[in-house]
Amino acid sequence: MRNVNSLQSSAARPCGMILILMAAGTILACQHKSPEQELLDKAGPAGSWIATLQMAGEKWGANSVPASFVKTTCKAAGKDLDQVAEEVKKSKARPEVRDPLRQLISQAQAAGTSLRKAAEANDRPGVSQQAGQLAALRQQFEAWKKSVEPP
């Protein structure tokens, strides 16, 4: 009983808060990054969504997922890509780093919309074409990432 009470004592609470704040401070301090590195982190979900859309298109073509899944995945991807686009817009990274990414995301958004429409229309060649377009965008994204990543 003494042990439990001592843990709940009023002295323990500020101590715990200080420890949590110190841990948060340490982790945040270790996270200090340049605007280009920050942009690289923020762009991560975009690359992942481009790959997801490509896989969804390919799997639909192979009859492994239903059209409704492609549709909802495209919607979810669109929402997250919009968010990344906003972050990129606000980024203080150099324009030669930021602008190619902006263009890439905008192309991915367009490809996602076309993929959704093609799946809804049961247009197999259309879906296949968009999956190919997304595969190319993914390669471009990887090349962009490599150009920004510190050696």
Binding site: V4, C30, Q31, S48, M55, A62, N63, V65, R138
Partner: protein, 407 residues
């Protein structure tokens, strides 16, 4: 061992395997495999060893004293001292229940295309009806047997022929090659999902419901080691499948849509449906357990009548707690909270509150007046001491990691 106990052991192992895997395991395993391939397997193994000991202790306690943990802790330390752990446990129950309901709704969304929020209330009614109409045995056995569907992850993992060297290397802790905040966030979330505080409190109440006595201590040990051990194999398989299917394609799991195609390489035609069914069933079993666990804990804290085998008229307040809990938790999904984000936040909170829940439990396991020769020995106490240190570290780092490492 007589026939009845052998049956209990077999059933207990099936329950352990089928009941171990829930939305927290699925989400954290998929994230771990997709982002860090096999590198976080050590976190799952560490959690599994600790949960085996915790579950063994809680079952031993119930078998030796014929009392459930909250009941005994309240009697032993007094109501006031139990109040803080109880409130923390209630919050965790509420969030975990919301995450499990979110998982069922998302699985239905995958199959039907309708938004998860649409399914929140129908799922809540289904869960409530199940609890209102069924006995403990029916719930335990039916959900566990259906839960064996999650073995699809194990079959898929074997079909992918993962590289043995990398698998073995992942069993040892190592520093991440990229994104350290995310790495540690997922490591903590895996621990939070395996060391779910509700699990060992629920297990002790279940043992009392099943009328265990001291003669069940051997059966309990077998269930804890084999059930939890095989259960964690499914979570390990989910890490392997994500590492083999999602990671090479550059897919990270920031949304359940990104995990939903995990099984389609191993099972091209059935993989998608299998994933949705495994997700729904794992979450259904866990949601029933969590709702019951919340009722058990509340009823035992306030000294009310309790028991899933009783007619709701005989333990009206017990039944009212799960009714209210299901309704309130389903509102989290109804109001559009993202099921994956809710799950990951809940797993981190699970890890953060571990000391509040585990300390009274581990203290009472050393009460020789109550447990006599069944009190903790040096092996259990060494694990308990390690767990306490780990729990205190997790309590300090988990919330900051949510801020910097959670997506």
């Amino acid at each position: 061992m007589n026939m009845k106990k052998a049956m209990q052991l077999a059933l207990g192992i099936v329950t352990g395997v089928g009941g171990f895997f829930d939305i927290g395991n699925l989400a954290t395993s998929a994230q771990a495999g997709a982002s860090f391939r096999f590198q976080l397997i050590w976190s799952l193994l560490l959690g599994t060893v600790l949960v085996i000991f915790l579950v063994e202790m809680s079952g031993r306690f119930a078998a030796a004293t014929r009392k459930a943990l909250p009941d005994a802790i309240r009697e032993h330390f007094g109501f006031t001292s139990w109040l803080v752990p109880f409130l923390v446990l209630t919050l965790v129950h509420f969030l975990v229940l919301g995450s499990e309901i979110g998982g069922i709704c998302f699985a239905l969304h995958l199959v039907t295309g309708l938004p998860p929020a649409v399914w929140a209330l129908p799922v809540a009614v289904l869960l409530w009806l199940f609890l209102w109409r069924s006995t403990f045995g029916t719930i335990e056995n039916s959900t566990s047997l259906l839960g064996l569907l999650t073995l699809a992850f194990v079959v898929a993992a074997v079909r992918h022929h993962p590289p043995t060297g990398q698998l073995l290397a992942g069993m040892l802790p190592s520093l991440p090659h990229h994104d350290p905040a995310k790495y540690w966030f997922i490591a903590v979330s895996i621990l939070g999902s395996v060391l779910a505080p509700y699990l060992f409190y629920f297990y002790s109440s279940g043992a009392v419901e099943d009328k265990w006595d001291a003669s069940y201590i051997g059966v309990n040990r077998g269930i804890a080691f084999l059930g939890m051990g095989f259960g964690s194999l499914i979570a390990l398989a989910a890490i392997v499948v994500a590492a083999m299917v999602l990671a090479p394609r550059g897919i990270e799991v920031n949304d359940y849509h990104q995990a939903a195609m995990m099984l389609t390489d191993a099972f091209p035609f059935w993989g998608f449906v299998l994933f949705a069914a495994a997700m729904a069933i794992a979450c259904l079993g866990a949601a029933l357990e969590v709702a019951l666990s919340m009722s058990y804990t509340t009823a035992q804290t306030f000294g009310w009548n309790w028991g899933e085998d009783l007619d709701p008229r005989e333990d009206a307040r017990f039944s009212l707690v799960y009714t209210g809990a299901i309704l309130l938790s389903s509102l989290l999904i109804l109001f559009g909270l993202d099921p994956l984000k809710l799950t990951l936040l809940t797993m981190a909170i699970n890890a953060a509150v571990l000391p509040f829940i585990a300390i009274p439990f581990l203290l009472i396991m050393n009460d020789r007046k109550l447990l006599k020769e069944h009190a903790n020995g040096w092996i259990s106490n060494s694990v308990a001491a390690f767990l306490l240190v780990l729990a205190l570290v997790l309590a300090v780092v988990s919330i900051p990691l949510v801020i910097v490492g959670g997506s």
